[in-house]
Assembly symmetry: C2
């Protein structure tokens, strides 16, 4: 990691090495506090999704300043990294089915509250055996597929069968439902997003009611993301929301609109790729030092922040091609790029450089960088 | 990095944790030796592009078994990581223009032969001042744009002006030309690729001749990649080729064809993302554990290796959706994925797991992972 440190605390922003990830601390804190207020006002829990930032520092700020009850992550290795860094309440909002991973998850529960999602009845028995072996309780959420088309059993009876099995097995606690409509989060148009989420709410409510009729109560009904949380929040069905991207936002989430064509919940872009011009051999083009290895372009090219005179056109491994029709850019000029997609972009960096008033105020390691196991 | 270690030497491949990057050592060695033979038979130097693998272990194998004269990389921090790991001949095949990076490049030249590309006349003076400060010689290649549309001055006179300045400045040595046609490498059709490369060869020859007329001889005429090297190799103009992807290949390079619709130079896929099925709640779909954070999808989705019955359809952050029309996949089943694009895929991993005869034989760190500075 020595070769990836771009800054030091106290350094003027002009001296930060590029390309690197910069967090505008003012905008970041406003995002954290805004969501914290919403949750408090609506009597909801926020379990912050750490898959976005993979940073224990940010997770702690979300809990301490934003009132989050804990974090989610997607991988056992992420959970391990976050627990090692002091986080004590972690939901792996994903299936854990490989024998070695189950063993690690149970071992981790000796040190923290650990929750996990389940969508397979055989997996329940495996989790139970590991929990018994380590003398721990693993809290299990049954994941239902409410339209995302990824993990999760169908809502209704299939979920009840798994919940019953969890409740019957030693070392496990049936804790509720995971019902995340991931596919709806980035749907641009508010009405269309609304329709998809209403279906998810209806499916979830039906499943909660069926479980209740079977004597299984859901302490946690979890889901929702930055693109839809006000809908699940108002449903009276969900009680624990898992927004993650709201801390940073990105170019793709900026294209998702609320009613009246406003940005979602007025969250601000706080995450930027700081890049420099490193070739200006052509009048109408500049080449910057942030290419495919400095970001993920799965959701499109980054957007140059605060500039309408230049445009990021395309990325190759180590280069970005910037249209510069007015020939205004010079060697070593700096640009801030709003990443197309924040989560996989953070995953290529080892450091987050927090800046305020033109100075570096924080240098946060990406605690769970590359923790994909 | 502790949370990213997927294997140990001696382990059966079945026990390797997923997702991770696996290198088929037999195929990898055949690729290294095949290119080495080509270079030797044609009296050419191979400067292996380490941007592909970022691994000092692989760089050493390319030099020791493949006869490579040294390596290229794209970033000063990559060069630092490779020199720290024992590589002593490194070309940064890119512009280095930021003051701190220039300083680091000159400091590095106290420990290794360091070459760098230049496309700006003011940059020549900055490099010279730093070289003098550290008492070193920086060997400079003038980069010409032979069609890629990225860095590099126009071929011909503009290159001569920069070469002259390099030759006149203390601490620098004019070493030749960098003339890489990056845009042609992935052009599918052989004839079209041929036309683009012939233009690059003509531009380069013209510039070499102009330099010669001005008393400036090119020790090095460098360029070429996996998609085109036999064309530059046969030109009589280029003498140092920079193939990188040939060690691994990827799904996109498999779509690039030689004459007679054959794969390029018969290189083999040696790099795979090993992934496991972690949800099978639906009959015709399986969810695997390799998503956007386990690869770069800039050149399309990965291809499932050796299977025509299943297909990788799409990626979200931590999930891959696999079409399984025959409902043949089960939880914890493993698949090998050929990455869409090898270079930025390697960049998200900390380890390369070398396998042979069903066992882990090597665990190589990605020495310059995330070294983007």
């Amino acid at each position: 990691m020595a070769n990836t440190i771009p800054a030091a605390v106290g350094m003027p922003v002009e001296e930060v090495d590029t390309p690197c990830l910069v967090v505008d601390l003012d905008a970041f804190e406003r995002n954290v506090e805004k969501l914290g207020r919403y949750m408090k006002e609506h009597g909801l829990r926020h379990r912050a999704h750490a898959k976005t930032h993979k940073s224990s520092d940010i997770a702690m700020i979300q809990m301490e300043r934003g009132g989050a009850c804990g974090v989610c992550c997607q991988k056992v290795s992420e959970a391990e990294a976050l627990v090692s860094a002091g986080i004590r309440d972690v939901l792996v909002s994903n299936q854990v089915v490989a024998p070695r991973k189950i063993e690690r998850l149970a071992a981790l529960a000796t040190r923290a509250r650990v929750l996990v999602c389940v969508d397979d009845i055989g997996n329940v028995d495996d989790l139970s055996a590991a929990a018994v072996k380590y003398g721990v309780t693993l809290e299990c959420l049954v994941e239902i597929d409410v339209g995302a088309g990824r993990c999760g059993v169908a809502p209704g009876e299939p979920a009840v069968a798994i919940a019953r099995r969890i409740a019957d097995r030693p070392g496990l606690k049936f804790a509720g439902l995971q019902a995340y409509q991931g596919k709806a989060q980035h749907v641009r148009e508010h009405g269309e997003r609304r329709t998809l989420i209403q279906q998810a709410i209806d499916d979830t409510k039906r499943t909660v009611d069926l479980l209740k009729a079977d004597g299984l109560s859901c302490d946690i009904v979890a889901g929702a993301g930055t693109g839809s949380f006000e809908m699940e929040g108002a449903s009276g069905v969900y009680n624990e929301l898992q927004c993650g991207s709201y801390v940073f936002m990105d170019a793709d989430y900026q294209r998702v609109r609320d009613e009246g064509d406003k940005p979602i919940s007025a969250f601000e872009n706080s995450l930027f790729i700081l890049t420099s011009v490193m070739s200006k051999a052509k009048k109408e083009v500049a080449i910057c030092d942030a290419g495919l290895k400095a970001q993920s372009v799965d959701s499109g090219m980054p957007v140059v922040f605060g500039r309408s005179d230049v445009e990021y056109l395309k990325a190759s491994d180590e280069h970005g091609v910037i249209a510069d029709p007015g020939n205004v850019l010079r060697l070593n000029d700096r640009l801030r790029l709003i990443p197309g997609h924040c989560d996989p972009t953070v995953n290529v960096y080892d450091w987050l450089v927090g800046v305020r008033n033109g100075r570096v105020e924080a240098l946060w390691p990406v605690t769970a960088r590359g923790a994909c196991l």
